[in-house]
């Protein structure tokens, strides 16, 4: 049996155990294929995301970044593929996952308050009918406080700025007290202060040994924010530590002609391997 850690396996691009039952990583995906129409959105993708690390999913528009997350969570149906969460099937380990969808995917006119949205993160604990207690509310308030939104608890969510809405979404994920955090473009359209606040919270989660996975757009911040990177363009291009995988060659392979060489040169990249 292969005794190397998932990191070593993942970094050793291409040599990945096909038997998903042998992987105890927070999230492992094998052979995932999703199609919205004739053409596959992602094709036979393998991915392994590690605990205590922040991983960026990087790729051009339409490369299937969000699709990979959604398919792994069962939010959208996949044509084929296996998912393992901490070595278990998704259904068994769902409670250990917190998912933050794209902010633009919901209607912020919905009649609800900030604290109400955070309490939605408690659903797996409270179920259908059990009463929400003062302890639940205190927990939700503490989660709001961690993203600096405690003062906004009773605001209607439509009255928030884009950055504040994103922080509320992150706060709802914190309320779930999960071990694996999957965030779909958490930095899209947010102000610098919010970006800082989100990164601080995510870094805190990482320090606690949680796994954090973000669909990410800004190539310039990859090296600063993330430990690992997963490059995708319908197929998996590469995955592993930023220092090893975030190379001009891999970026060219991911973006093709869509990324000018001059642009790549400005990035804080590892020298060509």
């Amino acid at each position: 049996m292969d005794m190397r850690t998932p990191l070593a396996l993942a970094a050793n691009n291409g040599h990945i155990p096909r038997d998903i039952a042998k992987i105890d990583a927070p999230l492992a995906v094998r052979g995932m294929t999703v199609s919205y129409g004739e053409k596959p959105a992602i094709f036979s993708v393998d991915a392994t995301f590690e605990a205590g690390k922040m991983t960026a999913i990087i790729g051009p528009n339409g490369a299937g970044k969000s699709t990979l997350l959604k398919a792994a969570l069962g939010v959208i149906p996949s044509l084929s593929g296996e998912v393992s969460v901490f070595g278990n099937p998704l259904g068994v380990a769902r409670d250990r996952i917190a998912y933050v969808p794209q902010r633009a995917s919901v209607d912020w006119d919905f009649p609800t308050t900030v604290i109400d949205v955070v309490m939605m993160g408690l659903y797996r604990k409270t179920g259908l009918l059990s009463r929400l207690t003062g302890a639940h509310r205190a927990h939700a308030m503490a989660c709001l406080d961690r993203v600096g939104m405690a003062d906004f608890a009773d605001r209607q969510i439509g009255q928030l700025s884009g950055g504040q809405q994103q922080r509320v979404f992150l706060s709802r994920a914190l309320a779930q007290e999960a071990d694996l955090y999957l965030l779909d473009e958490p930095f899209a359209g947010v102000d610098a202060a919010t970006e800082r606040a989100i990164i601080d919270v995510l870094a805190g989660l990482k320090a606690d040994g949680k796994a954090v996975v973000c669909v990410h757009h800004d190539l310039a911040t990859v090296s600063r924010y993330f430990d690992n990177v997963f490059l995708i363009n319908v197929r998996r291009i590469a995955e592993g530590p930023v220092t090893a995988v975030f190379t001009p060659e891999n970026l060219h392979a991911t973006y093709g002609g869509r990324l000018a060489t001059s642009h790549i040169d400005q990035l804080d990249l590892v020298a060509g391997a």
Binding site: K70, L73, G74, V75, G91, R94, I97, Y99, P101, R103, A104, S105, V106, D107, W108, D109, F110, P111, T112, T113, D116, V117, M120, Y123, R124, T126, G127, L128, L129, Q156, I157, G158, Q159, S161, G162, Q165, R172, L182
Partner: protein
């Protein structure tokens, strides 16, 4: 407010209130899911289903009516898919075509078949027969404790009361999943909530409310109550719990005021005859919505956040 009120007005008002609430409750979620027209569609599809069920069974009992409506809904879904694919038409247009055609077919069926023995004709399909649902045996308020008189209550009252209670219970039990999946569907799915089943259950509940209400109050009220009270309630608050409460208040208010205006309104203006209670109830709910649009405290938020989020 004596014996005459109990005999002639109490049961129609109660039926009006219960039917309005039964439709308004699921209407809240349909409106928030931007599926308000599903209520409209349901009330259209129900008609041919009910007529066919009556033609087959010869009765207007609850079960055949429900089965007929369900059958019609399935036919509608198949029709919509067929029109969409064969005609290459957008879903909204396909729905519009299917539902109006089915409703029109129901009207033709009604005209051609002998339904004179029961309250099933075009007029009743549209406006119900609220005014005729009187409590013959009632002698006054004391009849409320008289078992014999209670037994003679119009059967529509019992049916809509059961359905209204069922709708309330379902709304309370499934409040959290409904709220979460209506607000953020992909988050709900990630939690493992059966989002498809929740949406389907909501539509089925709305359909059951529509069928029960249809019999007593006609399709005009059903369409109005799915949309007007929830839409007006949304303009009164920014909290879902409060919105649903307001929608119940507005539904009740529409039923009472509508019935009173229909019975006495024309007299105030010197006219001789009362007008259709169902028509007036729907009109009042529309007026309440108009007033909420003009004076509701939270009307300015509608449609603003969306641009920001885009």
């Amino acid at each position: 407010m004596g014996a005459e009120f109990v005999q002639f007005s109490l049961t129609p008002i109660l039926i009006g209130i219960l039917a309005s609430i039964a439709c308004a409750l699921p209407g809240n979620f349909l409106v928030l899911r931007k599926q308000a027209l599903i209520g409209d569609a349901i009330s259209h599809v129900v008609l041919p289903g009910i007529v066919v069920a009556f033609l087959i069974t010869g009765s207007v009992a609850a079960l055949p009516m429900l089965l007929g409506a369900a059958g019609a809904a399935i036919v509608a879904v198949i029709l919509i898919e067929a029109i969409k694919r064969l005609g290459n038409i957008e879903p909204g247009a396909a729905m519009g075509v299917a539902f109006t055609s089915l409703f029109a077919g129901g009207v033709l069926l009604l005209e051609q078949s002998d339904t004179s023995s029961v309250h099933l004709d075009v007029e009743h399909a549209l406006m119900g027969n609220l005014e005729s649902l009187i409590w013959f045996k009632a002698q006054g308020w004391s009849s409320l404790w008289d078992l014999e008189a209670l037994a003679a209550l119009p059967h529509e009252l019992g049916r809509i009361a059961v359905v209204c209670a069922l709708v309330i219970v379902l709304t309370v039990i499934f409040w959290r999943p409904l709220k979460i999946s209506t607000f953020d569907e992909s988050f709900a799915q990630a939690l493992g909530l059966p989002v498809g089943a929740i949406g389907f259950g909501l539509v089925v509940t709305a359909a059951v409310a529509a069928v029960a209400a249809f019999d007593a109050v006609g399709s005009i009220i059903v369409i109005a109550m799915f949309i007007c009270p929830p839409a007006a309630a949304r303009l009164m608050t920014n909290r879902l719990e409060t919105q649903v409460t307001w929608s119940i208040v507005f539904a009740t208010l529409s039923a009472i005021l509508g019935y009173v205006f229909a019975g006495y309104g024309p007299l105030w203006f010197g006219a001789q005859n009362a007008v259709s209670a169902a028509g007036m109830i729907a009109t009042v709910s529309g007026i309440i919505l108009a007033l909420a649009c003009l004076f509701g405290p939270y009307r300015s938020r509608i449609g603003v956040g969306r641009e920001e989020a885009a």
